[in-house]
Symmetry: C2
Subunit: 490 residues, 2 copies
């Protein structure tokens, strides 16, 4: 199976579309009598949408899933290139991410691969500060980030614990609002005197990799959230957000949820189908697609990402606050690019650059090609080229400037250009969460909204998507009531 | 509502049976035609059993729940005494306990109460070492336990991370087996020279409170598991295992799961019903109760606790390894006793005693009586008296020896004497996990076994019970297939 998404650039040639088990064929399973009214229509086959479908179908509701892409998984899918699994979007999970771990356990998919460098390979950290390169050890990198994060987040003399005591309820202490209004740049300004240029470049590259944007556009609030979710320690943040991958690949996981929904017999779906309007007449919701197909349902769950939501027409129109939230959107415009580098020595290499045109941070993430070569994962900024190969060439050239290496292939997905995401994982700008989070989570008549982009806990993560998908399904089960069934009568 | 379980001893008199919303009335909802064959019979209404029932009923299976007690929750229930909620068994939860947090979120029950002492009250720590009392501060207590745990668990020069890298897969590194064979006493012997008498008493009291038994009978392996699950830090262990309570009380939570099962119309139950034999003829499982009632089902999920399992007759008999595991059982024979002390100063007091006849460790856990008095929770050993009031008198007297106080009431449940638990949360003796865990988890024909006592992750916790309940339900859904339903046909 191949998705039409993603790019691979290698000596054998440039390729658009990657081998991927998340692609669904045939593209729909809608029967002839589609004039039926569904119980629920779900827009979007990411983890939020899949979870909603699975939960509702299990409880006996008739569900239709509409997805614009040719595959499940949303901003997460796994490409299998020459026998190696590359996670093109969402990647890392952890047993302390409650919703994703519970779901992985449901499908017996708790076997993990570690991205931790271990004590093999070069153990080098290359940092480019204002274009000037320095080589340190991975251990020195760790100490810089540890001290940097501790200073950055010690806003209350208690490592942030007083101002954000409950990471899954980030607004709990209203005093955090003062820090919500500022940018990462403003906070960094305060602690700058404590660090030298190399340390500051390391910190900013690290934050840039988290937020996919400039320090000015990055809300400091979301960084505190990562810190709190990671257990208020730098080691915790790295362990929980970029260390453990599902060994079988994210797409195997997404398929399990999809297939469970399918096994119920209650599940219809249509891929390659773009929604244009959603109308709610207070009794039924009508969805119309770009190709003018219409479906009806009692409830609709919209999982369209924050940065794309304003492109769908709602009738009645979305309330002003929700509309404003979708128009401003989140600020993660980052790039994630995989490289295969010749040799295995770079498996424990990491690089950082700030300021930087394209590459903010990169690190070895295991071996490819039967242990011969190295998988390097990079985070940086996006840029458009007349042909996408320009993108990979510039990215690879910048990584080579950091560390000379022979790059055999470059594999990536431009999530910013992608019309169905317009960004990667959600990171809020300054002054956004207290203003908009509640509005984003609110229903609109018979339309419910579920997305990792407005989850309470691991917002922007697969865990947050499942949190939201569960919430929407349970709300509908509670309000429509459990369907009566012949087999169910005792 | 009142359960017949639990004791309250106060000046108004001694009382057996406590006000509790976990009691189910009427005691059964079985209709006249009970000769029907159920899809699944579940024995036990603790969190494992409730989760299995809920998942199976949601998926359209006809389920019968059989429970010996008059209430749901198993080794967890909430007593409401004079307007204060006392958790009589399982209590603390955390957002890093994936299964329980996911489930709490499902029911909108993520509001928490903190048991952390805060910076109010006396802030004292009283430790009795070999009968000699010393008074320290809470901060000094924290430092002792922090250094003690770090030495105790640094068995690999990497704080235990190398030998137990995956807390939810404790056997992952087979090298841990060497430490699984030893007792807490043997490990303590090795680090003893590093600590003085006060420190050693503090550490042993703390371990005794965790395991409810002597250092000799406590398996060191389970302590490493707690350490790993707590993020390899003493602060983490305390944060994850005794800091956050569900504000609405555990019994509100258990009721939500029970009521969701009930809402499906697929759920029958019978309380006050003790199972005597379980027979599996390879096609159907037959359950016979002490009062000679019989029910049939295609599958049976047995959630009977480890220390009680050997009292039920299985035909065919359980395989030898599983049988031996149930005959040896786990070693947590601890007592949990609540006190209400006059005044509010002790809210941040904690005490520890080792060796000790009854009380190992106790600490303030919030205020009662509109903020006037203090709730103190104690952990220690069990003992039998001609009348249970002897129990509370001895316990209270020992706590008063540690810290003079006026005790207004004593509230407890003797889980060791309880014929349906014979112990509290599961702690393995030395040399048990590698020998028996797998066998305990194995099915026996059409009988599946699900209990926190053999969970892989948070074994002995509510989280582990939900982990196991989910596992059993999913396995049955997968093998019996999703039931066909009229309403389900699209």
């Amino acid at each position: 199976m191949t998705t039409r998404e993603g790019f691979c650039d290698r000596k054998e040639g440039f390729q658009q579309g990657l081998p991927c088990t998340a692609t669904i064929t045939p593209r729909n399973n809608i029967l002839a009598h589609t004039s039926d009214i569904f119980d629920v229509i779900v827009i979007g086959a990411g983890y939020a949408g899949l979870t909603t479908c699975r939960d509702l179908c299990n409880s006996g509701f008739k569900v239709l899933l509409i997805e614009a892409r040719d595959r499940i998984g949303g901003r997460t899918y796994t490409a299998n290139i020459d026998g190696h699994l590359y996670e093109m979007g969402g990647t890392w999970v952890h047993w302390n991410q409650p919703h994703v771990w519970h779901t992985m356990h449901r499908y017996g998919l708790t076997e993990l691969l570690s991205s931790a460098p271990g004590d093999v390979g070069c153990q080098k950290f290359t940092v480019s500060a204002d274009g000037k390169k320095t080589e340190l050890s991975r251990h020195e990198e760790e100490l810089i980030i540890q001290r940097g994060f501790e200073e950055l987040f010690n806003i209350d003399g208690n490592s942030g614990r007083t101002l954000m005591p409950y990471p899954h309820e980030p607004h709990h202490n209203p005093d955090i609002k003062a820090y919500e209004a500022i940018s990462a740049a403003e906070r960094l300004e305060k602690i700058k005197p404590l660090f030298n240029d190399i340390e500051l470049a390391t910190l900013q590259a690290c934050i840039g990799a988290i937020s996919g944007n400039t320090m000015e556009n990055t809300g400091f609030f979301d960084l505190i959230r990562w810190w709190a979710l990671g257990g208020y320690s730098a080691a915790g943040v790295f362990e929980l957000t970029e260390t453990y991958k599902i060994a079988a690949g994210q797409s195997s996981f997404a398929r399990k949820i999809f297939e469970e929904a399918l096994s119920t017999g209650n599940f219809r779906y249509t891929f390659d189908t773009v929604v244009s309007t959603v109308e709610d007449d207070r009794i039924l919701v009508k969805v119309t697609t770009l190709s003018d197909t219409r479906w009806l349902a009692k409830r609709l769950v919209c999982t369209i990402p924050l940065n794309v939501l304003s492109q769908v027409q709602f009738d009645p129109a979305l309330p002003p606050t929700k509309l404003a939230a979708t128009q401003q959107g989140h600020i993660n415009f980052g790039a994630k690019v995989h490289l295969e580098a010749e040799g295995s020595d770079l498996r424990s290499w990491s690089g950082a650059a700030w300021p930087s045109k394209r590459v903010f941070a990169c690190h070895g993430d295991g071996l490819t090609n039967a242990g011969k070569n190295t998988h390097i994962v990079c985070f940086g900024s996006n840029k458009e080229f007349p042909h996408p190969s320009g993108d990979s060439e510039e990215f690879a050239a910048e990584v080579k400037q950091l560390m000379p290496m022979q790059i055999n292939k470059v594999i990536w997905h431009n999530w910013l250009k992608d019309p169905f995401s317009r960004g990667t994982w959600c990171v809020f700008p300054p002054n956004y969460s207290f203003q908009y989070l509640e509005a984003l989570r609110e229903r609109h008549g018979n339309i419910l909204f579920a997305s990792a982009d407005w989850a309470l806990g691991w917002r922007g993560f697969i865990d947050g998507a499942i949190e939201e998908g569960s919430r929407a399904a349970k709300q509908i089960i509670d309000e429509l009531g459990f369907p009566k069934r012949i087999a169910g009568l005792l």
